[in-house]
Symmetry: C2
Subunit: 466 residues, 2 copies
C-alpha cells in the first residue's frame, strides 16, 4: 500500500533529546502514543506525529514551540482527537502538543456569565463544573471535545440556532505564537471595538496560526423550562417550510433537527422502535414554563398546516428524553446500517430558502450513485450532514464517495452556502475552500505567512498548496 502522505525528515535527535530532558515521561516517542495522536474520527488515513509532549501550562507550550522552531519542526495541537477532517494528523511529521493535561477550570464568574478554562477542558467537564451555578455552556458538537479543539475548529452543533457557535461564544483566548510569545486576543468585555478581531481570527484557524491554551467562554442561564416536540412530515419540502416559517415567526427555538426517512429506518432497526419512517423534525424550546408551552403550540399549528403527522410535545425530562431518543441514537444507528463501515461525513450549510432544493438534488444524486447515506441536519441553520457509509480500504468506493461529496459541496456553493458549516477544512476540504473563497484565499495565505512565517503550526491544513 502506498503511503498516503509525502515523506518527511525524521525528528532531529537533538530536539528529541532536549524535549525528553525537559519533559521526562511527559515526552513520548512510543508507537502506541504516536498512533493514538495520529488519527481523528474521520475516514482519513492516520498520520502519527514523530513525538508527543504533554505540557501542563502555557509556559510549557511556549517552550515546546520555541524548541521545535529552532529545529524547523512542525507543531500540531491535539485536544480530544474528535475532529472530522483530519485536523490533528501529522501529515508532515513533527511534534504533537497534547493539551489534555491542561484541563483546569480556572474561573467561573456567575455574575458575568463567563468562565475561563484551559484548552484541554472538555465541554462535559465544563458543564459538570457549572452544575451548581444555574448556568451552562450550550455549544454541543456531539463528541465530548475539548474547548480548545472546539474553538480551533469553530464548532457548533444542535444548539447553534439559539446560542450561536464558538464564533459567538468565545470572549478571549490566550495564544502561544510561532516565536513562543504569549498573547491574549481580547478581554472579558461582552463587546469591543478595539482593533482587529484577533479572537475571531484564531477561532477556526485549526491550529495553523498559534496554539490556544486558555479560553474564556460565555455562559447562559439554565432555562427555567424546556419543551420538546417531534413531528413526521410527508416530504422534505414541507418539513423545511415548517422550519422556515417557525423562524420567520420569531419563535425562539433552541434546536431544530431533521432526520430523513433512511435515518429513521436505521433507528427503527438499531433501537427496535417502530417510528413512522419519514422526514422527522425534532424541536426544543427554552424559556419560562408559559413561554415554552406557547412556543410548542405555535409550532404544532405550523406543522399541522404543513401536513405534519404524529405531533408530540413534552416538558417533563423523561418524556423529552423519549421524544429525542431517536435523534440521540442517530449517528450509531446510521453506522449500524453497514457494520464495519466508516463514515465520510459531509457538512454543507446553505441559506435556509435553498435547503429543500439542496437536499432534493442531493437525494437524487445519492439515488443515482447507489450510496448508502442517511441524513442528519441542523436544519435551523441550513446545515446538514450525510453519513456516507464507506469502506476506507476500497479505493474505488472512496473515490466514488469523494466525487459525490465534491458535487455536494459545489451544489452548496452554487446556492450561496458553504462547504463546511461546522467541521472545518483540515486536509479533507482544501479544494472546496479555494472554490468557496476565490481570490480571498490569497488574503488567508498572506495572514498565515504574516503570523506563522515558517509554517510551523499544523502545516498542510486549511490552505491548499499554492
Amino acid at each position: 500500500m502506498n503511503a498516503p502522505y509525502p515523506a518527511h525528515a525524521p525528528l532531529p535527535e537533538a530536539l528529541a533529546e532536549a524535549l525528553a530532558a525537559r519533559f521526562g515521561e511527559r515526552f513520548s516517542r512510543g508507537e502506541a502514543v504516536r498512533a493514538h495522536h495520529g488519527k481523528d474520527e474521520s475516514a482519513h488515513p492516520p498520520a502519527p506525529p514523530d513525538a508527543v509532549v504533554f505540557p501542563e501550562s502555557t509556559a510549557e507550550v511556549a517552550e515546546v514551540v520555541r524548541a521545535c522552531r529552532a529545529h524547523h519542526v512542525p507543531v500540531i495541537a491535539f485536544g480530544a482527537g474528535t475532529s472530522l477532517e483530519g485536523h490533528v494528523l501529522a501529515v508532515r511529521g513533527g511534534v504533537c502538543v497534547d493539551l489534555s493535561r491542561m484541563n483546569r477550570v480556572l474561573a467561573i464568574r456567575a455574575a458575568d456569565l463567563d468562565a475561563t478554562v484551559e484548552a484541554g477542558v472538555t465541554r462535559k467537564q465544563l458543564n459538570q463544573a457549572l452544575h451548581d451555578t444555574g448556568l451552562f455552556f450550550p455549544i454541543d458538537p456531539g463528541a465530548d471535545a475539548t474547548l480548545g479543539g472546539m474553538a480551533a475548529t469553530r464548532a457548533s452543533g444542535t444548539n447553534a440556532v439559539r446560542y450561536g457557535t464558538m464564533r459567538e461564544n468565545v470572549l478571549n483566548a490566550r495564544v502561544v505564537l510561532a516565536d513562543g510569545s504569549i498573547v491574549k486576543t481580547g478581554t472579558r468585555a461582552k463587546k469591543s471595538a478595539a482593533g482587529y478581531d484577533l479572537t475571531r481570527l484564531f477561532i477556526g484557524s485549526e491550529g495553523t496560526l498559534g496554539i490556544m491554551t486558555e479560553i474564556t467562554v460565555r455562559l447562559y442561564p439554565v432555562p427555567e423550562a424546556i419543551s420538546s416536540a417531534v413531528c413526521v412530515f410527508p416530504s422534505m419540502d414541507v418539513a423545511v417550510d415548517t422550519v422556515i416559517q417557525t423562524i420567520q415567526l420569531g419563535v425562539p427555538v433552541a434546536r431544530i433537527e431533521l432526520l430523513d426517512r433512511l435515518a429513521i429506518a436505521a433507528i427503527n432497526r438499531y433501537s427496535k422502535t417502530s417510528l413512522r419512517e419519514g422526514p422527522t423534525l425534532f424541536f426544543e424550546f427554552h424559556g419560562s414554563p408559559a413561554a415554552v408551552a406557547e412556543q410548542a403550540q405555535a409550532v404544532q399549528e405550523l406543522a399541522s398546516g404543513h401536513g405534519g403527522l404524529d405531533f408530540e410535545w413534552a416538558t417533563r425530562p423523561e418524556d423529552r428524553s423519549r421524544l429525542w431518543q431517536a435523534r440521540h441514537d442517530a449517528y450509531y444507528a446510521c453506522l449500524g446500517l453497514r457494520p464495519g463501515a466508516r463514515s465520510l461525513t459531509t457538512d454543507v450549510c446553505v441559506p435556509i430558502s435553498r435547503l429543500a432544493d439542496c437536499i432534493g438534488e442531493t437525494a437524487a444524486d445519492i439515488a443515482q450513485s447507489g450510496l448508502l447515506a442517511p441524513l442528519v441536519g441542523h436544519v435551523g441553520d441550513g446545515n446538514f450532514h450525510l453519513v456516507l457509509l464507506v469502506d476506507p480500504a476500497d479505493p474505488a468506493e472512496m473515490a466514488h464517495a469523494h466525487a459525490f461529496a465534491g458535487r455536494l459541496a459545489a451544489r452548496a456553493l452554487r446556492m450561496e452556502g458553504t462547504c463546511t458549516g461546522e467541521h472545518g477544512i483540515g486536509i479533507g476540504k482544501q479544494g472546496f475552500l479555494a472554490a468557496e473563497h476565490g481570490a480571498a484565499i490569497e488574503v488567508m495565505r498572506a495572514i498565515k505567512r504574516a503570523i506563522d512565517p515558517e509554517n510551523l503550526f499544523n502545516p498542510g491544513k486549511v490552505l491548499p498548496e499554492p
Copy 2:
C-alpha cells in the same frame, strides 16, 4: 494655532487629472466638499482630504484604489461621517472615497432573514425598505450611519443585549483590497467553518485593511409585541444589581439602558419634565404578548426587591414612547447642560460584575476633576458613555478631559474590560489600544502589513506608530 496633524505631500496633479477625467463632477477638490469630508461627530480637529470621489459601483471603487496606489496616495472610505473617534479624518491627506451614492438595497431575502446592501445604505434606509416584510435590522448606534461605516467600526448600540453587534450580524462583505482586487469574505450560510474568518477581520478594521462596498446582514422578525419599563433606583449599585439579576434569570431583554442622576436632571431641564432625579433604568422586551408581559413583571419584582421607585411599564406604542422619551432625548439634553460645548464621549465596557465599581470610581474621579459629564449606559453589555462637555478651543480643558478619559480607560482595563465597546479606536484611542492588547498589537501590525503593505488605507488610524 499649530496644525494638529503632521504636514503631508500635496495630491499629485497627475492623479487629480486622471480622477477628474474619469469621474467628472463626481470628483471634487472644492473646499466645502473637502471640509465636509474632513470631520466626524467627535471633538477631534478636522483634517480635510485633498480630494473626494463619489463612486457608484465596486468596480469604480477599485479603479480609485488602483489609481491612488500608483501614486502612493492614501485612500479614506467615508459613509455618513457620524463616527466618534476621528475615523474619517484625512490626517495624512489623500483621497476620500465617499460611498453615499452606493446606496442601493440589492436584495432582501425574507425566507433567509438576510439582506444585501451597498455600503452607503443607512440603517434607517434599510429599515424603510424592510417596512412591508415583517422583518427589521436591529443594530442602532443612534446616528443614521451607513451599514458600511457601522461594519467598519463594529458598531452596536441599544439593541446589542439581545441582537448582538455588527460582529454577529454581518454574513458576508465585498471588499476592495489594496491591489484593487475585489473579494468576498464569506457566503450567505448562517454559519461556516471554512478557513480564516475574514468577515470578522474586516468588521472593525476601520477602513485600514480594505473598503467594504457591499454587506450582507442578518434580519429579524419584527416582534409580535414589545413592552417597555422604566424604574428609578436609590443608587447606582442597586440599579446595576437589578440588571445582573435580570440577565442571570435569563429574561431575554432586548435593551437595558441606564441614565445617571445628572443625565435625568439634564432631561428635566431640556424637556421641561419633572422626572425623579436618580439613576434610572430603561428596559425593552420583545416577544409574544404573553412573553413580554411576563418579562416586564419579572423585572418589576426584581426592581422592587432592590428598592426601585416609580416602576412603570407599558405595551402600547404611545405609552412606550412616553416612557422612553427621556432616553431618546438624553444626548441633546446632556449637550444642553453647556451650550456651545462639544462632547468628548468615552466608551469603556467592562464585565457586568465590575460595572458598579467602575461607575463608582469614575463618579469620584468626575467629582474631583470638576468635569461636567453625565452618564448614558448600555448597561446590559457593561458599556457606558460619559458625555464630557468640553470646549475644544481650550487646550488646558481638553488636556484635563483627555487625562480623565485616560484614567477611565486604564480603570476599565484593570477590570478586564475594553477601552471601547462600540466607537472604535480611530485616532483617539491608539494609546489605549496598545495598553489593552499588549504584545498582540504586533499581530495586528503583521496583519496590516500583510494585507495593506503600502499603508494605503486610512493611514494613521487604529494602530499606533511603532
